[in-house]
Symmetry: none
Subunit: 526 residues, 2 copies
């Protein structure tokens, strides 16, 4: 069974999507998650173009992740030298084992956009690849606009590949940069390239401008490509990159390629939703394989038929990708992963407890909560079921105000009333905003009794409006990341009122901190 | 040039999507719009399954739309008679020129789901088609699960088609019902069917479960299908139906088929967004051809290249589908982007003005604003530079409170003080949350003087904390999407205080609405 390698460029090409803005922390958590999932290559960024990436690379490389990290950049400048090329030097400084160089393969671009000669472009490619190889890098050559170039001037397009290959490039990736091709064209052209470059390792990089990003990638694989570049959830500029979340199960479950272990494939749905959460984007309910609606069946007839025999209405068993069948009119499905999660926490739950948590989760999800990224909220539900569990505090009231008065400026204050043991604590705090003020007031109310909470701080805060186009009168979901030393966790809150949703997440987090930090002793200040 | 016919099932299959709920009025306006656009067939509903549809059919048929309206239903019951079949009779009562009958083509379904014999199923198909033909209908036979059936038992699957054809069916539509096939399978199987049924008019009906709904449909067309069934924006159950909005330009602009007149194709983007609006769904910014981001380019370098020659980075001229090229304003942009944007707004900016706006943008970006998605905020900056521009109102104060009191529940209120002309307006509003309350109070303060603002509503609301791990004391960026009829725009606000950031985005949006809506006249209510 042929192996296909996945090359994930969510953090570079994917992050060029208009409405994505990833902090360095976001990128690191995504990189870790991708590596844990089994992505073979992770393209982390473009050090020459974004100074923020320099810090990211330093930290990412030092994590020793199981994936091969790649830094992305261009071939040297026309008539320049590699030694003097700041972009190439930045790529080396990034310190990754892999460097991906994008170079022109379309003669039109060479003359019109780069304003140089066809020969010089070949030298740019050869020089840059050789220079990187000499520095011990695995080199991926991204042939930009390859298919347009191959149509316009096939000999030149192939010459660019040969220049890279001769200089030692490990991979020749054919990029369908404008996104305008259709699958049979991709299949035919890729086959021709593979025939003309026997022995070369060929990859493919597609975009989704004709709605065929997935199909185009699969077509290239059929023709000999053994690396597929893409992004999680198809994130990317314009219409997006090829969606690895759809491509992977297509390759493995439909086409019989070996890509990842079966148990990793089962984590696909969680991975897909996790990356959406971190990117603060709504997960696409209708995404192939991983969408909330992907295996949702309406009506009693379907469900009865499916209960008889699942393949009557489903093209695969959803559990193979970690999703589940849902029947929209009645909830028949269970939650194997809830029991799994409990077990992982060392909590032995009988069926009844798991069902209880399941029911609670379903009810809350109906109100807008999501738990894929908010594991602390789920864990808290389990702990509260323990016979010996006592709630550490009881929330009574809160009050939060923001005002801006002409000539006076901006003020945000909050008061919180909390019962801790027999005492009622009533605290006030100021903040830069109402949620910050609430967080401070709550922490202030609890620290006398629970000094360890002094170490807890709010690290990130994401808000989504749910319910399509209902605006701020719709349901609001808040995800809050907390940290204490190297411990980190996320809680969720949902309510039509953003402050109230935040309040829920804040108080759950304080309660959870007491479980998490006490178990582990004093937090590591390192 | 071969003609391909489009069969739109947005109102039937598309409306089975989980989060769509169309009223009879909605369906009628969509039907009219589809017909005006030039859809050849419009499948309106399932009269036997939805009593609401009866009223709809009566009204739709009486409109004498230029499209051929179709009513959808099943073949007769096993061992029943057509005359006594309530479903078939309802189809006739619907009064459409076309009736579409779905019947089983997969032997497995016939025996396991229908619990009848293979022979009886053939009779069901033949009888029902003949019965409809006798009543003067054009009959479309939808062969359900055809491709799975053809793989399992090709002779039987073909027999079902022959039964329909022999009874006079005008169209034999091969349905890829489970959505699990890949394009080359579709191409090969459809070719075989076409070869075995020479002279038949073949159609195809795909779903998107493998992310190949579009590619599968195109593959079938390459093999001889001359009708494509699908929905606007790919709406449908699970992962959706084949997206006609993507298929149409692929067929016509890429594959050279004659489908619709050029000037109709130019209405594609408007049609796509209109249907989303009526269905109360957010239009997919990243949809092929028609998405707001479909032809958006980041970075000064790309823009410079495109200004030189549009096909360097675009696979088609966006105006052919009624969309437009956009340059995305961001930290990377040089003067080129800004001037382009201004020119499109009909503003002639000299270099100095462009530099001024650019400097403003860079400064604000440093404070946390982002402008990629907030074009309205950028446009506003330009307008404010105009010598003849007068600010429509002046913000003085605001005040927003959220409180939850034990036994009293949750309250959110806001007051706003605004100067409009010589008047000072001081309004109060309640809301589900503080931002919602502020939005209402602001709108209330302005509508007497600017009645057109009554039509403005807040559609989506995104919040990010900036600055890595500084939590709620860090800078907060808010992006707010507004709508009025089919007009939509986005503004941005940033501040350490989430309420204040929202306030900025809200007030910019109201000011921008007055420019946008006044220029365009009253909003289109559809």
């Amino acid at each position: 069974m042929t192996s296909i390698l996945l090359y994930d460029t969510t953090l570079r090409d994917g992050s060029q999507r208009e409405d994505i803005s990833l902090s360095v922390e976001d990128k690191l958590t995504i990189a870790q998650r991708l590596a844990a999932f089994g992505m073979h290559y992770i393209e982390c960024g473009w050090p020459g173009s974004n100074p923020k990436d320099a810090d990211f690379f330093a930290r990412a490389v030092s994590m020793n992740l199981p994936a091969r990290l790649a830094a992305f950049g261009r071939t040297r400048n026309p008539n320049g030298s590699c030694d003097d090329d700041t972009n190439l030097r930045a790529l080396v400084v990034a310190g990754t084992p892999v460097v991906t160089l994008v170079g022109k393969s379309w003669d039109y671009h060479v003359t019109q956009v780069l304003s140089t000669t066809l020969a010089e472009n070949l030298a740019m490619i050869g020089d840059s690849v050789a220079w990187m190889k000499a520095r011990g890098k695995e080199v991926v050559f991204d042939a930009e606009h390859f298919y347009d170039g191959f149509l316009a001037n096939p000999d030149y397009a192939l010459a660019t590949l040969r220049a890279a290959a001769a200089a030692g490039a490990d991979w020749l990736v054919l990029c369908e940069t404008n996104g305008g091709r259709l699958p049979w064209e991709m299949e035919a052209m890729t086959r021709e390239v593979a025939a003309r470059l026997p022995g070369a390792q060929i990859g493919v990089h597609c975009h989704n401008d004709t709605g065929c990003g997935v199909a185009n990638s699969l077509a290239a694989v059929r023709s000999g490509a053994t690396m597929v570049q893409g992004t999680i959830n198809g994130y990317g500029e314009r219409v997006g990159n090829a969606d690895l979340v759809t491509i992977l199960p297509n390759l493995q479950l439909k086409m019989g390629y070996a890509v990842l272990p079966e148990e990793k494939l089962r984590e696909l749905t969680t991975l897909s939703r996790y990356v959406a959460e971190v990117a603060n984007l709504k997960h696409n309910d209708h995404q192939p394989y991983t969408g909330h609606s992907a295996f949702a069946h309406k009506g009693g007839i379907h469900v009865a038929a499916i209960l008889k025999s699942a393949d009557t209405y489903q093209h695969i068993d959803p559990e193979r990708v970690g999703n589940m069948m849902r029947s929209v009119t009645s909830e028949l499905s269970g939650r194997g992963n809830i029991v799994l999660q409990a077990r992982r926490m060392g909590l032995d739950l009988d069926n009844e407890a798991a069902q209880h948590v399941l029911a609670q989760i379903k009810h809350l999800e109906h109100e807008g909560f999501t738990f894929e990224a908010a594991e602390a909220s789920v864990e808290l539900m389990f702990h509260r079921l323990r016979a010996d569990y006592r709630r550490p505090f009881e929330l009574l009231d809160y009050f939060a105000i923001t005002e801006r008065r002409h000539g006076r400026g901006l003020v945000a204050e909050a008061t919180v009333k909390v019962k801790v043991g027999e005492l009622i604590k009533f605290t006030a705090a100021e903040g830069n905003g109402p949620v910050n003020a609430l967080a401070s007031a709550l922490q202030e109310a609890l620290v006398d009794h629970y000094p360890i909470l002094r170490t807890v701080r709010l690290a990130d805060y994401k808000v989504r409006i749910l319910g399509g186009t209902a605006g701020t009168a719709a349901n609001t979901r808040v995800l809050i990341d907390f940290q204490s030393g190297t411990e980190a966790w996320t809680t969720v809150g949902a309510n039509a009122n953003i402050i109230d949703a935040s309040w829920r997440a804040l108080s759950d987090s304080m309660e959870y901190a007491l479980i998490r930090l006490v178990d582990k002793g004093a937090p590591d200040k390192g």
